[in-house]
Subunit: 330 residues, 2 copies
């Protein structure tokens, strides 16, 4: 591989001038600029990223922390992020935290060693106090998950509204006994808390109360959904509708409910969250809350590059639209 010295030699100029051309610095005459470009072309030269990094330059790599890539919500998000990044000449490092605090920190350490310019966190495991220290070493952007104050750039959805829309829809259909089954803890910060708030708001607007027996937390997978449904089937007093935190939980419930000969939505209405492909695969198709994953990915890269370009930029939060998609399960 040719290096900068080869280009300098071939063009009869100094490394400095070549570097200036590469980085679009001013103060290079058009004539020499052309000479350099011709030499670069001829040698098939590409600047060595490691050398640039070493000198404190950009790595053109950004890390994306996800809990697990096999979760379709996150694989769609990573897909959108990777595509947007590719268009801008950036690489994407995939970081699976598996909800582990230490793994998350290990990935944040990539900033310290300048292996990535920035990190997009789609989930947060550690306290923000711990994470914020890493901003000294590179850009951190939250996408999907979020913290309470506007202290870091975030791409977020109005989760409160999302949950509210779902519950309201169930209430409008005449349901009075509504269960709530979500990932995360009921009263945690961020997403969980906001959805919870939307849930409570819709309920109290309708003058309804929460039945604690119908609250299920820390559920994520299809299997979790099936397991919860088994519990519900055993109950003396069953809910008539269930609001879930993901299409996967909802699908698991729906499948298990069918095994028990329950009619969806007549015996039991189920509402998902995310609008993943699975929502249209199960039978009946899921009513769900659509999260605009592709937009989130694109916006994340857009904002991340802005942050890298202008590290002192004002901290802004971006909210994307969330909507209810009515199908057959309600």
């Amino acid at each position: 591989m040719a290096n900068i010295s080869d280009v300098a030699k071939l063009s009869g100029l100094s490394k400095t001038t070549v570097s200036r051309v590469i980085n679009n610095h001013p103060y290079v005459s058009d004539k020499k600029r052309e000479l350099v470009q011709k030499a670069m072309q001829e040698l098939g030269y590409t600047p060595n990223p490691s050398a640039r990094r070493l000198r404190g330059q950009l790595t053109t790599t950004i890390g994306v922390i996800v809990p697990r890539i096999i979760n379709p919500f996150f694989s769609y998000l990573v897909n959108a992020i990777e595509q947007a990044a590719y268009k801008k000449g950036y690489q994407v490092l995939i970081c699976q935290s598996y909800e582990d605090k230490e793994k998350e920190l290990a990935f944040l350490n990539l900033l310290k060693t300048k292996q990535v310019d920035g990190i997009i966190m789609t989930s947060i495991e550690n306290d923000w106090k711990v994470i914020k220290a890493y901003r000294d070493y590179g850009a951190i952007l939250l996408c999907n998950d979020y913290v309470d104050q506007e202290i870091v750039p975030m791409i977020r959805l109005d989760q409160t509204k999302g949950a509210y829309l779902g519950i309201k829809h169930l209430i409008d259909r005449g349901h009075k006994k509504i269960a709530y089954c979500t990932g995360g803890l009921f009263d945690e910060e961020g997403k969980g808390k906001d959805r919870n708030q939307g849930f409570q708001q819709a309920l109290s607007e309708a003058g309804m109360k929460i039945n604690p027996k119908w609250i299920f937390i820390n559920k994520h997978t299809i299997e979790d959904g099936k397991q919860v449904m088994r519990q519900i089937v055993e109950m003396k007093e069953r809910p008539t509708a269930i609001f879930t935190g993901s299409d996967e939980i909802a699908s698991g419930m729906l499948i298990e409910a069918k095994e028990h000969r329950l009619k969806i939505p007549d015996d039991l209405a189920i509402i998902g969250f995310d609008d993943q492909p699975i929502a249209e695969i199960v039978d009946p198709k899921l009513t769900t809350i659509r999260q605009p994953v592709d937009q989130m990915g694109e916006k994340s890269i857009e904002v991340m590059l802005e942050m890298l370009d202008n590290p002192g930029m004002e901290i802004k939060n971006y909210e994307l639209p969330i909507e209810l998609v009515v199908r057959q399960s309600t």
Copy 2:
């Protein structure tokens, strides 16, 4: 951040000795080794990867080329690869080719600029002639997809056997009219060709012939499956069983077939490929060919690290077991 000179100073030794300790070189006395380690600990020192890369060392990063991460087969594969890589202290760069030759080459170029030590290709778009030139710049390992000769390390499955098992199973259930619906082209190299061979072998063993009307190629998605099913429904003479190239195609077919009031498996038997989660979600659950994705991911990293450790190593191919999982769709 502390650098190697700081460690050298604190331990009262030279950079050289510190470097020797980092890289586990022989010829360092135990006493000094301990001194260095203590100093590294005290300073919270981590070697700067960019500097190591610059000197032609490992990047501890490997790229994984997949067609698209949203395909569950590949997200599961990437998941397994990332986890295995993390355990060994390696990072994973996600590269989505979107079946585009140029994108694939752009990613292979990461080897040239030493941004990755090696690349695991889970799909091949360009001719092998083009790709093989990149081996000069780093390790290339094929996983899942493959070429015909043993000219590059490969992690593969016996696709011929996979298809054979599936078709044989259908024949054993008494089917005489079997359709074949797969991704890729019918006669291409690699996976497609081998599956095709298994298909033909099983058929000819049973003294059956191929009906060209029932061959569908270049199908991948759930939507493709639905679309093919619409074609089949229109046919005067319909097949009684369908062998597909993925659980997604199979699921799409199954869903569409149900819309047309076809009974699965009585009116039509459907068999998938991969054993993805969706196989157990659809109703009836899919009979399918299980590909051991986790094993493939682990083995890929194992072999990749071997290649990096010993670049001149003998080219070996590794074959993992493939099996039939009988559920309800056949």
